[in-house]
Symmetry: C2
Subunit: 679 residues, 2 copies
């Protein structure tokens, strides 16, 4: 039933000329892709896309992801009437504008996920589609198809070369995500030139191998009906994600169309003029939007408002028929946590048995899960090691597999850490879901590209990162993180927790779950940790506190985290026998501690005596909190974990001896707190 007319041609020309103008004014950006993708963007927006530009947060809106993130999305948002003016388009790539170089979630109205770093958006899209499948399965009822949106992803060659997209595509096929439509801008060009130089695989066959539906459209430049039919067929297929392979001409309309000359550089002034003439646009005007273009797009906006109104009515009726489900769904949509959820956090006494913090994490998850449907967790094929699967949870699986249901809350990610991280960003971006993911801490590094985008985009994702040091023992240095935690600690808006015992593990979950715009990494031990005298959820929730205080002036403070806090205590006890007074500070989370008031911080890490840090990781960064550092100077070693700790001198006995060295070095010196600073 597709019908296209001159207005459509005008709209498409508007997108193309705006793309040239936006990038031209900024003198920076990628004009080629938006010019090539203008037709499909227009067909999708006008004929299929369900959203309300007046309320970009309408829950059942279709999600749009521009994986090859560029100006195209800003242009569409402007035309559709989101909170993005023509002036905002003119401020593309300027300081403090709403139109930064690549679209950023939680920065610009209507942007679902942050894209630009290639492959991420594709995997985010898989997460968005999984979120719909899950919430639909949990809340939809007969006659109440409340959550049934589609996720549309635009992607290019670059994204499809990235491993993170491959991982996500394989999982999406396994999960039979019929609500996911990916449109692949097959323009045969990447930054280095023709894709013939490096990307000659058969993309269609590859996606067929993943279990996707693949549809080709040979003339993506002008075959609007073909594009329409492809999207319609994609929507019709309910048990497979769809890849639409759309042959387009990059920079269509430019004198350099079809070459990488239009990929990452603005068009020359005369080329922009000629482009406009070609489309019968005034060649002397910039940022020209014909009134019929605005009219066409405002009509879509009206349709969107009507859709939302109808949906809101349906939600109201749902509330009458299913009050409990409705209340829960409404709470989740509003981004509120379940009432009193914190009460389920376990509290420990020193007499409670020693347990690994990964096990303590499992206890938290098992305690929280029954009252906390928002938690949607999983592991990258390390479930039994990460202990991420709470008892009684059902796998998130297509029903046809017989292995679970879409309403299930446990995701089998496979050995796909990077996609897992990026999918979790999509799950968080969808709303109503707090995703947690599991792997060894060492392999969070595989997902670094996604982790930094969680933090930048303010997606609440919780990493259950176990086996967090040489304490993993036998697997050896290939699996023993040394540098990982300091990397995570250096990422803005990310809380990296290394809890020392049961109460601290509960505290890390408390803060991680309350931090609705901050991702967290919980760095957890494989080995057992004793429950410590002096720890409490409240104290640990400040990020750092005095775990063991002395009477009078101390000789030394040892500041430590995670599995090494108990070793620090052992050292303190040995030193006490020799007459030394040693305080112990537990610092499970630097970034949370940094946010405490200065007085508190200076009381924890006070002047007067030297402070020695202890961690079975790289010492890089500990200089901020201590005068002296003890940790790993190189790689770990393979062996039973106690032997490995001994090899590297991380034992009560050796740290006591190191402590004496430090005490004697600072004898007679004036010792100022490392936090007593000018800046």
């Amino acid at each position: 039933m597709a019908h296209f007319d001159l207005t459509d041609a005008t709209c498409i020309a508007t997108i193309r000329t705006l793309a040239a103008d936006v990038v031209g004014k900024a003198n920076s950006g990628h004009p080629g892709a938006p010019m090539g993708m203008a037709p499909v963007a227009h067909v999708l927006a006008t004929r299929f896309f369900n959203a309300n530009p007046n309320n970009s947060k309408w829950f059942n809106r279709d999600r749009f992801v521009l994986s090859n993130g560029c100006a195209l999305q800003y242009i569409l948002l402007h035309l559709l009437g989101y909170k993005l003016s023509l002036d905002d388009l003119k401020a593309f790539r300027q300081i403090d504008s709403l139109t930064p170089g690549h679209p950023e979630a939680n920065h610009t109205d209507g942007i679902e996920v942050t894209t630009g770093p290639l492959g991420q958006g594709f995997a985010n899209g898989v997460g968005l589609a999984m979120a719909q499948a899950h919430l639909g399965a949990v809340y939809n009822r007969d006659k109440f198809d409340l959550i049934n949106n589609y996720t549309y992803v635009f992607t290019g060659d670059g994204c499809l070369m990235e491993g993170v997209a491959s991982e996500a595509a394989s999982l999406a096929g396994h999960l039979q995500l019929g609500n996911l439509v990916v449109i692949y801008d097959d323009n045969h060009i990447s930054i280095d030139g023709d894709t013939a130089i490096a990307f000659t695989e058969d993309v269609s066959q590859r996606f067929l191998s993943y279990g996707w539906q693949v549809i080709g459209v040979d003339d993506g430049d002008s075959d609007l009906e073909g594009i329409y039919n492809a999207i319609a067929a994609a929507r019709k297929e309910k048990s497979k994600p769809t890849l639409i392979r759309l042959r387009t001409t990059i920079g269509y309309g430019s004198k350099l169309q079809g070459t990488h000359g239009v990929h990452g550089s603005p068009l020359k002034a005369d080329d922009i003029q000629s482009l406009k003439s070609k489309f019968n646009f005034p060649s002397d005007q910039s940022f020209y939007v014909p009134s019929e273009t605005y009219a066409a797009y405002r009509a879509i906006a009206s349709r969107g408002a009507e859709l939302e109104a109808a949906w809101t009515t349906l939600l109201g009726k749902y509330g009458e028929a299913y009050p409990k489900e409705s209340a829960e769904l409404t709470r989740r949509i509003a981004g509120k946590l379940p009432e009193g959820w914190e009460k389920s956090l376990p509290v420990y006494k020193p007499s409670d048995p020693a347990q690994a913090s990964r096990k303590l994490s499992e206890i938290v998850l098992t305690a929280m899960t029954p009252k906390f449907p928002d938690l949607l967790g999983g592991s990258a094929d390390l479930t039994g090691s990460n202990l991420t699967k709470a008892k009684g949870t059902v796998d998130f699986q297509p029903p046809s597999t017989g292995l679970g249901a879409y309403s299930g809350t446990y995701i089998r990610y496979g050995v796909r850490e990077h996609a897992m991280g990026a999918i979790a960003n999509g799950l968080a971006a969808y709303g109503g879901i707090i995703p947690f993911v599991g792997t060894f801490l060492n392999f969070v590094s595989y997902a670094a590209g996604a982790v930094r985008l969680s933090a930048l985009s303010k997606h609440q994702v919780i990493w259950v990162a176990t086996h967090d040091s040489i304490g993993l023992g036998e697997d050896g240095p290939t699996h023993q993180p040394v540098e990982t935690v300091v990397h995570l600690r250096a990422i803005p808006n990310l809380d990296c927790w290394r809890p020392a015992d049961g109460n601290e593990t509960s505290a890390s979950y408390l803060v991680a779950i309350r931090s609705r715009e901050t991702p967290s990494v919980l760095s957890l031990s494989r080995q057992n940790l004793p429950n410590l005298e002096g720890s409490s959820i409240e104290r640990a929730a400040r990020g750092g506190y005095v775990l063991y205080e002395v009477e009078g002036k101390e000789d030394l403070t040892i500041v430590s985290s995670g599995s090494e806090v108990a070793i620090a205590l052992e050292a303190a006890s040995k030193l006490k026998q020799e007459g030394f007074k040693v305080r112990i500070v537990s610092l499970p989370c630097w970034s949370v501690f940094d946010k405490q008031d200065k007085e508190y911080k200076l009381s924890v890490l006070r002047s007067g005596a030297p402070i020695l840090s202890l961690e079975a990781l790289s010492t890089v960064g500990w200089q901020k909190y201590s005068h002296e550092q003890y940790g790993m100077q190189g790689w770990g070693a393979s062996g039973p974990f106690q032997k490995v700790y001994e090899k590297f001198g991380i034992t009560g006995t050796n740290i006591a001896s190191v402590g004496k060295k430090v005490i004697s070095f600072y004898q007679g010196r004036q010792v100022v707190s490392p936090l007593d600073k000018a800046l």
Copy 2:
């Protein structure tokens, strides 16, 4: 012509029972895969594999990579007579043994690359195969097929789920690597259980889409002839890599065979006994190797020694026919650098024009390349931005593409950063090659899993990591690294350089190329940097030095790196006008500076006045070298780079004002060098 007899069965049973014993004694490890892969390992080792166990470094040996790294490789090395005793097998996963939890290159005789972290070995194998293709094309001549080895990779489901393997597989298909044979242990099991839960793609079809030959063997447990024929067919195919999909039973022979119960845990004692009985092995003996097994494997070793001898003779004759090529090849095999290569490093005067350090890097590469055939470089689709392609270099491409030749030295990696890093490890591991790779610094994080293995395995890989800060400007925070450099600085045995000008860029190449067992990341600017008075290759090569000295006692030292050194100098000059004496220390490489003698270090970062660090990156870690830190507290911003620097106060004017604050804060305090420490 395959013929298999009872001896083969005995050998295979030996591998299987040894696997059970090795893992059983360690009480840790993965018995299932070696037990399942024993038949193919045996067929490959005895019928095809060309190597000399007496000289594991014979240059034309076949390369073997156990991507799903486990005890299997140790067992084979022992049986073949490499320097690995039965006692070494008994010390599996024990401290300081030759048999750590996962095989480590440059640690155990005969191990080519470090595996265990999934997907890496697969991509390393692609690199090893590319190295052969390249060196063969460069040095082989009619009748002198000197370099013609195969690379064999064993891989499992876990590896094939990883994105890094997907990226590498796609590139290997494009590159038509007929010398690469991958044997996929298709046992339907991963750690979480049946692959049906997460990995249901059609792997064969996927590899066909990449342009591979795919051969299936349905009974990998006992069809030795089928295995033989598959490997023979793989070797015969000269223009495609081959995937042999081998259906095996994980833990074959165990009571738990075919389940994930044998994946990552030792077999129970009674299961080991029953296994041995099943194979007619003495059930009461551990680590039992029948003499016919040793005899069979020692025969292979003799064959290997003969192969090497014949090859050495051929190399001798080659030397007569092609003295120049032979001398060069022999030098490269010996791991020596070209005589006088350092002389090509450019030297700069302050009057030379300002240039971006990425451009300075290009100048170095262009100067070095003609006399330095060992350099095999490339970029992940950012050639024009990374400036990694020296003038006149030819693309490394299959001749049939018409785009280059295997003798070409410039690799088009596509947008595949993680595979690029892992492939570079394979190139370095092959020998005779110094690989360098290019991408934005921000996307080195995509390859973190490979980078840490470069460092752990002592592979000399050089990263040309451009656009290294907010100085990249318009692309915005999605592309502006903040946390990346401190992550790299925390990796042991990795030198991260951030040169400030031309001489420092030359210095970073000088040290990076001389460091034959250390990878380096050169963090380079997009924006122009002036050539600084006081810089020199020699001084910068110490990792840190006083760039600008004052007369008498200073009021402040500013320590900085890269693009911010010139800003520090500007601040110093402003402060000088106000009567303050400010020294400037340039610290382009922490790890190299750390290795200098203490006296030198204390002379550079001396006591007596406060030291302020300045870098347009996270300040994490700078506390080691300074009392006060100025840098990025959060994410960057999209805009022209000068505006971005202004926004974050990284300008001469603001740093001068910050400097005054620091000076006044420390007035009257006793200031001790941050390097004057007890530990």
